[in-house]
């Protein structure tokens, strides 16, 4: 999926790892004492890793340091990296599924403003580039001009966009789109849904209905992707849990990772909820979506 070169990605993620890099500088040639452990904890908390996961990681690293008889704070870096990578279970399936010979449907869900529409356009663009027939569906009938936003992407990327009337029923838009896709030999249908807070019952019910509608086409729904904003704090875990409970999330897209936010909450999302992070968003361009790679993520985080 990636076309951003590794070097360019490194450069972008480099912005994200400044605090860890600073931590490493501070640790250089220092004895391993309690203050180093405090700094380790603080750094993880500052990366939105969260209390529980931070505690577990620090315990892991303490245990590893004890076994390896580590004397210098400098040596904590690789141990922490290993602990993070282990937690992110490199064996988890992070691929995106499609079914050959029929229109596969990917639903994008999430709270307001995380980057669903942009991610939908990026996903469609990547599939289009692979030579697949793609249909973008604007099922966000609530937000003013949301469909126009997706239509503008479609025009720029030469991808067909189907949309419903503003204020219309999103489920019926999706039904028509999936039906049309089947008739027209479309390979992939990427559905952009309206942003909704996971606490709004009626809106979550509406989303469930969209899922049920897609399920009327047996086997069509292959991915339900939750788009999380990398700047999100601990609420990200609640978002992931509630969306997973409601519509069976199959994977997470961590958007806006090109900023200074570290997206540390995905550690808890993966380990506590078992939801794999599949992709990361690293910019506003159509190509700025790359596969999530746990060791690279851990390394990038640690600088």
């Amino acid at each position: 999926m990636s076309r951003a070169s590794d070097a360019a990605l490194e450069e972008r993620l480099g912005r994200s790892r400044a605090p860890f890099a600073r931590l490493r500088d501070r640790w250089r040639a220092r004895r391993l004492d309690e203050s180093a452990w405090d700094e380790l904890e603080e750094t993880l908390l500052a990366a939105d890793v969260g209390l529980a996961t931070t505690g577990a990681l620090v315990d892991d690293v303490r245990e590893a340091a004890r076994r390896a008889r580590v004397q210098d704070a400098d040596d904590l870096g690789p141990l922490l990296e290993a602990a993070i990578t282990r937690r992110l279970d490199a064996g988890r399936d992070r691929s995106l599924t499609t079914v050959p010979g029929q229109a596969s449907v990917w639903l994008l869900v999430g709270v307001n403003g995380t980057g669903k529409t942009t991610t939908a356009a990026k996903l469609a663009h990547a599939a289009h580039d692979r030579g697949e027939r793609v249909l973008l569906v604007a099922a966000d009938t609530f937000r003013a001009a949301a469909a126009e936003q997706l239509a503008a992407w479609g025009a720029a990327l030469d991808i067909e966009v189907l949309r419903g009337a503003e204020g219309g029923d999103p489920a019926s838009v999706v039904f028509d789109a999936v039906q049309a896709a089947g008739a027209r030999g479309v390979d992939l249908v990427v559905v952009d849904t309206a942003g909704r807070l996971h606490t709004k019952r009626n809106l979550m019910e509406e989303l469930k209905k969209v899922r049920r509608i897609v399920e009327r086409f047996p086997g069509a729904l292959t991915e339900v992707l939750l788009v999380l904003d990398a700047t999100t704090g601990q609420n990200g875990l609640t978002q992931a849990r509630d969306f997973a409970d409601a519509v069976g999330v199959t994977g997470v897209v961590l958007a806006k990772l090109d900023g200074t936010a570290k997206g540390g909450i995905v550690l808890a999302v993966e380990t506590d909820l078992g939801l794999p992070v599949k992709l990361i968003g690293v910019g506003e361009g159509a190509d700025d979506l790359v596969a999530f790679d746990p060791p690279a993520f851990a390394t990038a985080l640690l600088g």
């Binding site: 912005r15 603080e42 908390l45 500052a46 990366a47 939105d48 969260g50 209390l51 529980a52 709270v111 307001n112 403003g113 995380t114 980057g115 609530f142 937000r143 003013a144 001009a145 949301a146 126009e148 936003q149 997706l150 239509a151 503008a152 992407w153 720029a156 503003e166 807070l197 996971h198 606490t199 019952r201 904003d229 700047t231 999100t232 704090g233 601990q234 609420n235 990200g236 875990l237 609640t238 978002q239 849990r241 806006k256 090109d258 900023g259 200074t260 936010a261 540390g264 909450i265 506590d272 506003e284």
Partner: protein, 439 residues
């Protein structure tokens, strides 16, 4: 793990209340718990540190040593410190002597700038002012269309004239002069605070706009980065305040504490929903109360005041006390409460409502059924339910589209309420105290 800050404080203070004295060890324990709670609420680690230091200094000082009620004292101190950190008094927008007042909205992508711009315009128009919206976000596809749609819904003109944001801002000011607008609200493109080119562009937009207020929109769900975002934006443009958005979710808004502490900027508004009127002035003491599990009592009282007719309320209270409370009164009460908004939202604002209860799904349909049952009764039946015999019950059930057991359940419940009211009136005098500590 999913406990909110308020729930955490609930646990801490329940334990505190059961303690006779507050010694140094207890202060330490409380401080540790509060640290954890604040971190879970996304308050920045550095901000938590300074907050805890201040708290410990105050709590272990003479104030508490001389106190007869240590728990009350600590609650008061934490509340005061939270309120101070959040900004003390209510902040407002600047009103220049020469209109128009110009506001520029800035922030990260997806933080809610466009929605806030429209809400602000709606808010000002509702006050009888003549705002103009300026769509200077030319980066996000269809952002201009979005503001045009929202502007039309708010009945506010939208200007977007030019091919670069600086020109659009300047043209917006000219248009405001032509229209005689009292306020100009400029929506800008979302950008990362570390994107040097875009931040320079933003500085030029702000220069061209000559604003009286530059507001940073901050998503209430933001984590630790809120601090860096706010301080970097403040370095590049003359920020005057913050709008905290998406506060209607279950995020406790630790970002607000962080931003306020680090930048000293007041939080001017809070976004609490997707509708145009879902913008409220930000009240630091109320958020502090909410964080402390004391409930958003003030908001609740204001809502009640706006909804209830004071005289009618007094009459009802008198009836309650005398035990002459009828089903008709019950119907009135229920309708008034429902006018205040969904019961779920009211529950969230009430102090001392446990988390389990806050999460309970209130079946608004059930309330509608109760209303239907009472409406199916004759006035005589409502005044004296004891006349409702078997055939009347069957008629009421048919008339309300419910069943006889449902009618029976309502009558039984109402009887219990009446009995409770009578026994309360016979009980010891004196009002029940609200669980709000002194300020």
């Amino acid at each position: 793990m999913f406990d909110t800050l308020a729930d955490r404080f609930d646990v801490i203070f329940r334990r505190l209340r059961s303690r006779g004295h507050l010694n140094a060890a207890a202060v330490d324990e409380v401080a540790r718990e509060i640290r954890l709670a604040l971190l879970e609420a996304d308050v920045n680690v550095r901000v938590v540190k300074s907050f805890i230091t201040r708290l410990k200094e105050r709590a272990t000082g003479a104030e508490v040593a001389q106190s007869l009620s240590p728990a009350q004292q600590v609650i008061k101190i934490v509340h005061e410190e939270l309120t101070t950190t959040l900004g003390g008094t209510v902040a407002t927008l600047r009103r220049p002597s020469q209109p128009p007042a110009v506001v520029v909205l800035v922030g990260l992508q997806g933080s809610g700038k466009t929605t806030v711009a429209a809400k602000l315009a709606y808010h000002l128009a509702a006050q009888g002012r003549r705002p103009l919206l300026v769509a200077a976000d030319l980066a996000r596809p269809a952002a201009v269309e979005q503001l045009q749609v929202l502007g039309a819904a708010a009945g506010v003109p939208v200007s977007s004239d030019g091919t670069d944001p600086v020109a659009v801002a300047a043209a917006g000011r000219a248009e405001a002069a032509r229209l005689g607008s009292t306020d100009v609200i400029i929506d800008t493109a979302g950008r990362l605070q570390i994107d040097d080119d875009l931040m320079s562009e933003l500085a030029r937009v702000v220069d061209a706009a000559g604003p009286h207020d530059v507001l940073l929109t901050v998503d209430a769900m933001t984590g630790q980065e809120a601090v860096n975002v706010a301080s970097d934006f403040a370095d590049r443009v003359p920020l005057t305040g913050v709008v905290l958005t998406k506060l209607d979710g279950d995020a406790r808004g630790g970002a607000a504490l962080s931003v306020r502490e680090v930048t000293g900027l007041p939080i001017v508004f809070a976004g609490v929903g997707e509708k145009l009127d879902d913008l409220e002035p930000f009240h630091p003491d109320r958020l502090a109360s909410r964080i402390l599990g004391m409930g958003d009592v003030l908001t609740l009282i204001e809502k009640a005041e706006a909804t209830f007719d004071a005289q009618q309320a007094q009459a009802t209270e008198a009836k309650l006390r005398s035990g002459r409370f009828t089903l008709e009164d019950f119907l009135d009460q229920m309708r008034q409460v429902r006018q205040m908004g969904p019961i779920q939202n009211l529950m969230a604002m009430m102090p001392g409502v446990p988390k389990q209860l806050r999460d309970v799904d209130v079946d608004e349909g059930e309330l509608a059924r109760l209303e239907a049952i009472i409406c199916a009764m004759t006035p005589a039946e409502r005044r004296d339910p004891s006349i409702i015999n078997g055939s009347r019950r069957a008629r009421i059930a048919r008339g309300s589209g419910t069943s006889t057991p449902a009618v029976n359940a309502l009558l039984k419940q109402f009887k219990m309420v009446q009995q409770m009211m009578r026994s309360m009136n016979r009980g010891p005098k004196g009002r029940r105290r609200l669980p709000v500590p002194g300020r």
